[in-house]
Amino acid sequence: MFEIVEKVLLSHTVSLFRIKAPGIASKRQAGQFIMLRLNEFGERIPLTIVDSDTEEGTITVISQEVGKTTGMLGALEKGAGILDVVGPLGKPAHIEKFGTAVCIGGGIGVAPVYPISSALKEAGNKVISIVGARTKELLILEEKMKKISDDFFVTTDDGSYGHHGFVTQILKRLIEEETKIDIVFAIGPISMMRAVCDLTRQYALPTIVSLNPIMVDGTGMCGACRVTVAGENMFACVDGPEFNGHDVDFEELIRRNRGYYNEEKLAMEELTYHEGPRCYER
C-alpha cells in the first residue's frame, strides 16, 4: 500500500495527491511518470510525477477525474492507500541550458509541465510560461508556475481570467514581437499540442511535447502506447513520453486515445450504478 499523505482539491475535478513512495521520490527526474493501480480489480493508469520530497519520501501527482479510475482516485482522501505505485518510468526530460524556454501547459497539462519548467529554470534558462485552461476554475498550479517563471501568461478559453483565448495566441504574439525563443515545451490536450506544433513549425522553433497515450504495463512490454514519430513506431512509455513535437502523428494519437470510448462509458455507468462507495469497498 502506498499512503496518500496529503490531498488538495485544485478544482472540482482536479486533485493533487502527495503519496508516500520513498524509492521513487529519491530516483525520479523531471518528465518521468508512475503507473498506479487502486485496488485488486483496478486498471493501471499513468500519471506524471509533478514533484517529490526526498526527505519526506513523497511524490506528488495531479489527477483529473475523467473516467472510472480517476473518479475513484479523486474520491480518496488523506490516509487512504493506493495498492500499487510503480516508477519512475519513461525517459527523463532532456534538460540543459537552452537560453530561453517557453513552457506551455494546457488544462491538466500544467501538472507535467511544471517539473520540466522548474528544472529548466534551475539549469539557468530564462523561462516564459503560458498556462491555459477552459475557465478560471480549472486553472491549476498558477502560483507555483509563476514562482519559477521570468515571464508568466494566463489564458482562459472563456475569458474568465487572464487573456481571453488560447495559449497559441500568446505564443504567436511572443514570436511576432521577436522575443528570443530557443525552445518550446508544450504539454496539454492533444489538440493544443498539435496547434502549438503547427505554429512553431512555421518558425522552425524546436518544440518538445509529452504524450499521454493509453498504457497497460508502462515498461515497454505491451505496445499499447505506440505512437508514430517521424514515421517510426515508438513506445511512449520507454522511448518517451517526450518527443519532438514536429514529428508526432497527432491525428493517430487522437484516434487511438478514443479506442476504448464505449468501454469507458460502460465502466462509468457501472460506477454510477453502484453509487460510488460500494465500489471503493470492493
Binding site: 524509492g23 483496478g42 500499487d84 510503480v86 516508477g87 512490454m221 478514443r258 460502460l266
Partner: protein, 456 residues
C-alpha cells in the same frame, strides 16, 4: 488424459485437461519400462530422474514422487503443463518407438498437484545464513529457479519484479486454461515460505540500477527479465484501433482480468472477427483466449504450412477442437480501417515455401497477385518478442549481442559485468519455460561458487 469438452470449455477459462486420478496415474506409471540407460532423462533440459519418480507413482508413493522431481525441478506443476515433453523426454521414451510414449508430463503434473492439494508441501531445511545477499531481477521461471536454489544453499535472495504480481510470463502470458494462476501463486507462496523475498513494483533500470543493487549489499545479481518487447511487422495500418500485440492482448486478459470487465476495470476489445498472426504457442494462446472471450470467428494466419508451426501439436489440436480456424501459407500485408481509425479488414497474401533459411525451415515468399481481404475488427500480432531493453540500457557495461540479447558464458551464465549473471529469454530470445529454468539452475550453481571463491 480426460479433458473438458470443447463446447463446454470455450465458455469458461478453466483448465482443459482434468489431470489423472490416482488409479489412472498408477496405471500409466506401470507402463514405464524402467530402462537401465534411460534416454528420457537425457531429453530433459534439467535431467529429472524420470524413471525413479515414475516408479514411485506406480508404487502409490505420490508425495515422494513429487519430492524426487523437486530435487531437480523447482516448478513441476508448471512444467508438467507447459513443457514440450513430446520434443524432449517423451520423444526419447523407448515406448515411443512402438506406439505411445509414457505420459511423463502428465505424471509430473499429477505428482506435483497431488502434493499441493494434500497440503503436504514440506519446506526443505534451510541452512544457516551464509551472510550473502543475492538480487534476482524478474520473477519468471528463470528467476524463480535461481531464487529457490540459492535460498536452499543458505543465501538471502530478493526477487525484484516490475509488475504488481510475481510470476512473469507465467502470470501475464500463459492463459488460465493452460496454466491456472492459482498454481503459479502456490509455487510462489512455497518460495516465500522458503524465505525468498519479493519486491513488487520494482523496475530495475528505473527504480534501482544494477549498480544500486551492489551498493545495497547484494553481492551477486541474476538478470532474468525475459523477452518482453513485442515485435510488430511494420506494415500499414498496424496502429489502427483493434490491432494488438499478443503481449498486450494476453496481459489485458490474464494479468488485468479483462474477461471480467466491467467488474474489473481493464477492458479489451471483443470484436466479431478476430485474426491472429503467427504460428507459435503464443498465437494459439491468443486465439483460444479470443474464442473464449467472445465466441466469435477466430482465424490464425500463419505464413508457413501446418508442419512448420512451432506450436505444440497438442495445442494446435485443442485450438481446432475449440473452433479456431487456420489459414496456412498466408501473411498479412496491410490493415484497413474506417474513418475513426478502427480496424475493418485485413489484407492477406498467399505464400509459397522456397529454400530453407538459417533456421532450417523453408522460407515463405509471397505469391504475386494473390492478395485478398477478409473482415477483421481485432488483429493480434504474435510473431515473436525481442528482449526487454530496460536493464541493458541502464547497465551499458553488460555486453549485448547485435539483437540486444545479454551475452553470457554458456556454461556459467556469467555476463561481462562482474557479479552479474543472466539466463532465460533475456539471453536466448523467445525460448521455453524449461530452458529458462535450466539456465536458472546453472546460474544458481555458479553464483554459489562465485560467492564462495570470488573468481570471475
Amino acid at each position: 488424459m480426460p479433458e473438458q469438452d470443447p463446447l463446454e470449455r470455450i465458455r469458461n477459462f478453466q483448465e482443459v485437461p482434468y489431470g489423472y486420478t490416482e488409479e489412472l496415474a498408477m496405471k500409466e506409471a506401470f507402463r514405464c519400462l524402467q530402462c537401465k540407460d534411460p534416454k528420457c532423462v537425457e531429453g530433459c533440459p534439467v535431467n529429472i530422474d524420470i524413471p525413479w519418480f515414475v516408479r514411485l507413482i506406480s508404487e502409490g508413493k505420490f508425495i515422494e514422487a513429487a519430492w524426487k522431481i523437486k530435487e531437480t525441478n523447482l516448478l513441476p506443476s508448471v512444467c508438467g503443463r507447459v513443457c514440450r515433453q513430446e520434443d524432449q523426454c517423451e520423444k526419447r521414451c523407448i515406448r515411443a518407438k512402438k506406439g505411445q510414449a509414457v505420459a511423463i508430463g502428465a505424471l509430473e503434473r499429477f505428482a506435483a498437484d497431488y502434493e499441493r492439494e494434500k497440503g503436504d508441501l514440506a519446506v526443505p531445511e534451510i541452512p544457516a545464513w551464509t551472510g550473502r545477499k543475492v538480487a534476482v531481477v524478474g520473477s519468471g521461471p528463470a528467476g524463480l529457479t535461481v531464487a529457490g536454489d540459492l535460498v536452499k544453499k543458505g543465501h538471502r535472495v530478493t526477487i525484484f519484479e516490475a509488475l504488481h504480481v510475481p510470476g512473469g510470463v507465467l502470470m501475464y502470458g500463459i492463459p488460465e486454461f493452460r496454466l491456472p494462476k492459482r498454481i503459479v501463486a502456490a509455487e510462489i507462496a512455497y518460495l516465500k515460505r522458503m524465505g525468498v523475498d519479493f519486491e513488487l513494483n520494482a523496475v530495475i533500470g528505473k527504480l534501482f540500477t544494477i549498480d544500486d543493487l551492489f551498493g545495497e549489499g547484494y553481492e551477486a545479481v541474476f538478470v532474468g527479465t525475459g523477452a518482453g518487447l513485442p515485435i510488430f511487422m511494420g506494415i500499414p495500418g498496424e496502429n489502427l484501433i483493434g490491432v494488438y500485440s499478443s503481449n498486450e492482448y494476453l496481459t489485458r486478459v490474464n494479468l488485468m482480468r479483462a474477461y471480467q470487465f466491467p467488474e474489473c476495470d481493464t477492458p479489451v476489445l471483443r470484436g466479431r472477427k478476430v485474426v491472429v498472426v503467427g504460428g507459435g504457442n503464443t498465437a494459439l494462446d491468443a486465439s483460444r483466449t479470443a474464442r473464449r472471450l467472445c465466441h466469435v470467428d477466430v482465424t490464425v494466419v500463419y505464413r508457413r504450412s501446418r508442419e512448420e508451426m512451432p506450436a505444440r501439436k497438442e495445442e494446435i489440436q485443442h485450438a481446432e477442437e475449440e473452433g479456431v480456424k487456420f489459414l496456412f501459407l498466408t501473411s498479412p500485408t496491410r490493415y484497413i480501417g474506417d474513418r475513426d481509425g478502427r480496424l475493418m479488414k485485413a489484407e492477406l497474401v498467399k505464400m509459397e515455401l522456397s529454400e530453407p533459411d538459417d533456421s532450417g525451415r523453408r522460407r515463405p515468399i509471397p505469391v504475386a497477385g494473390s492478395a485478398f481481404q477478409i473482415d477483421a475488427d481485432v488483429v493480434i500480432i504474435a510473431v515473436g518478442n525481442l528482449i526487454n531493453p530496460l536493464v541493458p540500457r541502464t547497465s551499458p557495461d553488460i555486453e549485448v549481442s547485435s539483437c540486444g540479447n545479454i551475452v553470457v558464458e554458456p556454461t556459467t551464465e556469467k555476463t561481462s559485468k562482474k557479479g552479474v549473471f543472466a539466463g532465460g529469454d533475456i539471453v536466448r530470445g523467445g525460448a521455453t519455460v524449461i530452458l529458462a529454468m535450466g539456465d536458472g539452475r546453472r546460474a544458481a550453481n555458479n553464483i554459489h561458487e562465485y560467492l564462495k571463491n570470488r573468481n570471475w
